[in-house]
């Protein structure tokens, strides 16, 4: 893919890429920005190349996920081993940033709180399917897991999230 064409694609997908970077970085805006910068650099410099085996969006999201994982790990190492379990990428999400909650709509607040209570893999697959309108197969490619695993996470995540949303609505 030509660089100019790639740049056009990245600009077209930028808003969705931002949403996905936020999801991968536990909704930490600064970390999401760094992850997105790193991802764009990788793709535009040629360190990550599009092989044509999937859609451009799937490939871009895969790069963002990998870069976000590295940024989270780097931050964890930098901060020492004193990071609490709530902010580790593999653990449940911590509470979203207070300023993000203050500004978001009530519906978004409820959804963010409910997502924080389910497992990271379930959260990822639901984000990719419902937020980014991907198929479960595309979500499996982005997450680099088997289709069967993705389906399992999707079913269980949907049930868990629906239960959390009912609980939040009732409160």
């Amino acid at each position: 893919m030509e660089r100019s064409e790639l740049e056009r694609e990245l600009e077209r997908l930028h808003a969705e890429s931002w949403g996905w970077a936020l999801a991968c970085c536990a909704r930490d805006h600064e970390l999401a920005k760094e992850a997105l910068q790193g991802s764009y650099l990788r793709m535009l410099s040629g360190h990550a190349t599009f092989g044509g085996r999937s859609s451009v969006k799937t490939w871009v999201f895969g790069v963002i996920r990998m870069t976000a994982t590295e940024e989270m790990r780097r931050r964890r190492v930098w901060a020492g081993r004193n990071v609490d379990a709530g902010s580790a990428i593999d653990a449940a999400d911590p509470a979203p940033a207070a300023d993000a909650l203050a500004e978001s709509s009530e519906r978004s607040e409820i959804l963010i709180a409910a997502l924080a209570a389910i497992s990271p893999r379930q959260r990822e697959v639901l984000q990719l399917v419902f937020y980014h309108d991907m198929t479960i197969e595309e979500a499996a490619r982005v997450m680099n897991i088997s289709l069967g695993s993705a389906r399992t996470h999707y079913q269980r995540g949907k049930a868990a999230l629906a239960g959390k949303l009912v609980h939040e609505d009732v409160r």
Binding site: A15, K33, S45, S104, A162
Partner: protein, 127 residues
């Protein structure tokens, strides 16, 4: 209250998507920050390489200077007229040569055999 179905979940997520899109940073700003970050990393790595190369040169130069000064010290020691171990003789060497030593030393074996043989021929021819 019934659990939300797929459409309800999708509506929740789309609301969140609209909020995130409204607060997303500009693409060109992110792109420019990425380039600046890459330049900064490149400069830091270049400076690190320069410092390491300078340190390596210093170590090599120090090693060469030390090696040369040791070699010079060895040459000076060897060339100051001091005798080497191969040609050194003890000042009390003379005491080992006892007087009359030549009388006690055995005659050479080969010459005694030939002397005896030639001496007998000379005496028989003379008779």
């Amino acid at each position: 209250m019934s659990q939300p179905g797929d459409d309800d979940l999708r509506a929740h997520f789309h609301t969140l998507r609209e909020y995130d899109a409204a607060h997303a940073p500009e693409f060109r700003a992110v792109r420019a920050d990425a380039t600046r970050r890459a330049d900064r990393v490149f400069r830091q790595r270049t400076m690190t390489f320069v410092w390491l190369a300078a340190a390596a040169c210093l170590v090599i130069a120090a090693g060469l200077v030390l090696r040369r000064s040791r070699h010079d010290a060895t040459v000076r020691f060897a060339g100051n007229g001091a005798p080497t171990i191969s040609n050194w003789s003890s000042p009390t060497d003379g005491l080992l040569r006892a007087p009359g030593r030549e009388l006690l030393s055995p005659p050479p074996i080969l010459s005694s055999i030939l002397d005896g043989a030639t001496g007998a021929l000379v005496n028989s021819k003379g008779d």
